[in-house]
């Protein structure tokens, strides 16, 4: 196992004394030149890269007005300093959101503000140098873009936007991360983050049909590429591959079956995840999303439903409208064609939680809660769902709906402490392109605040099931739970609980 100490869980969440440079050694593997080039970035750091980086920064502050406001408006009040899970878990002062932002802000000041240009020493303005670039690479890959700090910032400064901009600038001079960029390349070549080809997808789904039949005696189908289906399900490829994700997929299949919804997956768009957002690249985010539009048009579906994936829901909810025409705003002929094609009686896009919730409200599903009587459940709000999107029609629906779906499926439900859930939720520690083995130390340490809150409900209520609606959260928790002496299989899908409770067959 890796050579570092897992933070201790204590009686209550402590704010640690700073330990300067305690995570300065953290290095995520760099993307090879061929992966960079696949994404439209240069392969090698070239002479004069500093000018390219500074120019790119200027371009981004013009293109994204929010970024400029965030860079200009910080007053160093310190409200964010103890809000980041990575600071709480590592004590490295550069993991305080304000300090992380300042790595980029100081460069912005040097080149784009009057005071910084002429009196850099007065305003903490710094030059773009190789040393600075290395610091960016280190510390902007210790940010999961979860936006908890922005909830507490009196100006609403969003570190995620700054972290995305920093990664985009680094990519513009060839410095990219292997994990994210290799994965985006796989989506272009094969259609999903895993690199799961159509034949393997079909084989895996046939296996699932057999398993569900063995278990329930019912023919629940997991169709692929069925033209004319009403619903296209876009779900993270981890749902086909990993545990406990696949229990969620089985749950979606059972819900569709029982509600009589004609649905399909697509082998062309077999990925909900969109790592283009993590690296701040609008072009790559669009290119990844376009596959979904292509599939939706080809299969002539009426609705697009998104599976349990946190950042995918942010992309879908906040960007798909203008990116590809799912929702209103897209202005090219294909976006318009898709808007014409989709059924306006349903939200576009719709989250699987919204779909299941609506069916439960209508009484279309029979759920036997006692099937989950061995589970004592709590729910982890995923950062991108909690702070960057919504579900349903009421404010805060993204907090209410998943809990209502869970409570309809289980008898024993307990929330974690209020300062750690809803919009205050702590990141799992693996979001935003951090979910890679080369960053295991920051992942384990960053999980500490969530583990602390979990321990409290385990001790108080004997909770033994941590439910989540994000593929990254599920994989991250499977990996880090054992570091904190929790069983790894304590993490599960929300639709895994639905899957256990749902009564298949004719309605009573």
């Amino acid at each position: 196992m890796a050579d570092f100490e897992t933070p201790a869980l204590t009686e209550f969440q402590l704010v640690p004394h700073i330990k300067k440079g305690s995570m300065a050694h953290s290095q995520t593997f760099a993307a090879k030149p061929e992966f960079q080039e696949d994404l439209g970035f240069p392969g090698e750091l070239e002479e004069g890269w500093e000018d390219v980086a500074v120019k790119k920064l200027g371009e981004l502050t013009t293109k994204y007005r929010g970024l400029k406001v965030f860079l200009d408006s910080c007053v160093k009040c310190g409200a964010c300093t103890d809000k980041c899970h990575y600071y709480l878990g590592t004590a490295d002062p550069l993991n305080m959101p304000v300090a992380r932002q300042d790595l980029l802000r100081s460069v912005y000041r040097r080149y784009y503000t009057f005071a910084g240009k002429y009196f850099p020493w007065l305003v903490g303005a710094r030059k773009m140098t190789k040393g600075m670039l290395d610091k960016w690479y280190c510390y902007f890959h210790q940010c999961s873009q979860c936006r908890r700090c922005s909830v507490f910032c009196p100006y609403g400064i969003d570190t995620a936007e700054i972290s995305m901009a920093a990664r985009e600038i680094m990519d513009a001079v060839s410095v990219g991360q292997k994990y994210c960029n290799e994965i985006i390349g796989k989506v272009y070549k094969i259609g999903n983050n895993l690199g799961l080809p159509e034949k393997a997808l079909v084989n895996t789904l046939e296996g699932l049909e057999e398993d569900v039949k063995d278990e329930t005696g019912i023919d629940v189908r997991f169709p692929v590429d069925q033209a004319g289906a009403d619903v296209l399900l876009i779900t993270p490829s981890a749902d086909f591959f990993a545990e406990p994700h696949i229990d969620g997929l089985i749950g979606y299949g059972k819900v569709f079956h029982q509600a009589g919804i004609n649905w399909t997956l697509s082998s062309h768009a077999s990925e909900a995840g969109n790592f283009g957002m993590f690296i701040g690249s609008y072009e790559n985010m669009r290119r990844v999303a376009l596959r979904i539009r292509e599939a939706a048009l080809d299969l002539k579906v009426k609705r697009i439903v998104v599976g349990e994936c946190g950042h995918a829901w942010r992309v879908a909810y906040s960007f798909w409208n203008t990116l590809i025409g799912v929702g209103h705003g897209g202005n090219d002929p294909y976006a318009k064609a898709l808007q014409q094609q989709l059924d306006p009686n349903y939200p576009a896009p719709q989250h699987i939680i919204e779909l299941t919730y609506d069916l439960i409200q209508k009484g279309a599903l029979t759920l036997d809660k006692s099937a989950n009587d061995d589970q004592r459940v709590t729910f982890h709000d995923s950062c991108n769902v909690a702070r960057a999107s919504r579900m349903g029609t009421m404010p805060g629906g993204q907090f209410v709906l998943p809990r209502e779906v869970i409570k309809s499926s289980v008898n024993h439900y307990f929330d974690m402490a209020p300062e750690t859930i809803h919009e205050n939720t702590f990141c799992c520690g693996g979001g935003g392109g951090i979910l890679t083995d080369d960053l295991i130390e920051i992942r384990v340490k960053g999980a500490q605040p969530r583990m602390q809150a979990l321990m409290d409900v385990v001790q108080e209520y004997d909770v033994n099931y941590l439910a989540a609606i994000c593929a990254i959260c599920k994989s991250q928790f499977s990996k880090v739970l054992p570091y904190y002496k929790f069983p790894m299989d304590m993490i599960g899908s929300v639709h895994g609980l639905v899957s256990n409770a749902i009564q298949l067959g004719a309605k009573q």
């Binding site: 994965i183 895993l194 690199g195 393997a200 084989n203 296996g207 398993d211 696949i246 083995d437 790894m488």
Partner: protein
């Protein structure tokens, strides 16, 4: 690029120890990779490794965890067809550690 020494020959691996070229794989390669992790491969490990290689040959990807547990359950008995058993064999995670010894690329994504 790093490399491992197998039978006097240097074989290229990536930063995480996965083979750079799948064609370089031999049983000896698997044994040596496992030794580096203090793991002695027994016949149960080999059942998993061989299944992974067969599956990859046909589908160009490692099998899903569920596909793997089902296949191993059929081969080694129902009590062994579960993730818990596979984690006992491959404590770093069956998908990743076993893929490495089998000479397959590391599964990527949110897994």
């Amino acid at each position: 690029m790093s490399a491992i020494e197998v039978g006097g020959k240097s074989i290229e691996v990536d930063e995480e120890g996965y083979l750079a070229d799948r064609g370089d794989w031999t049983e000896e390669v698997a044994t040596i990779m496992a030794k580096e992790d203090d793991c002695d491969l027994d016949s149960n490990h080999w059942e998993v490794i061989n299944f992974l290689r067969e599956y990859y040959e046909e589908y160009q990807i490692a099998p899903a965890v569920r596909v793997l547990t089902k296949a191993i359950g059929k081969k080694l008995g129902a009590d062994k067809g579960n993730s818990k058993y596979l984690y006992e064999l491959f404590p770093y995670g069956p998908a990743k550690q076993a893929c490495k010894y089998a000479g397959l690329p590391k599964p990527t994504g949110c897994v």
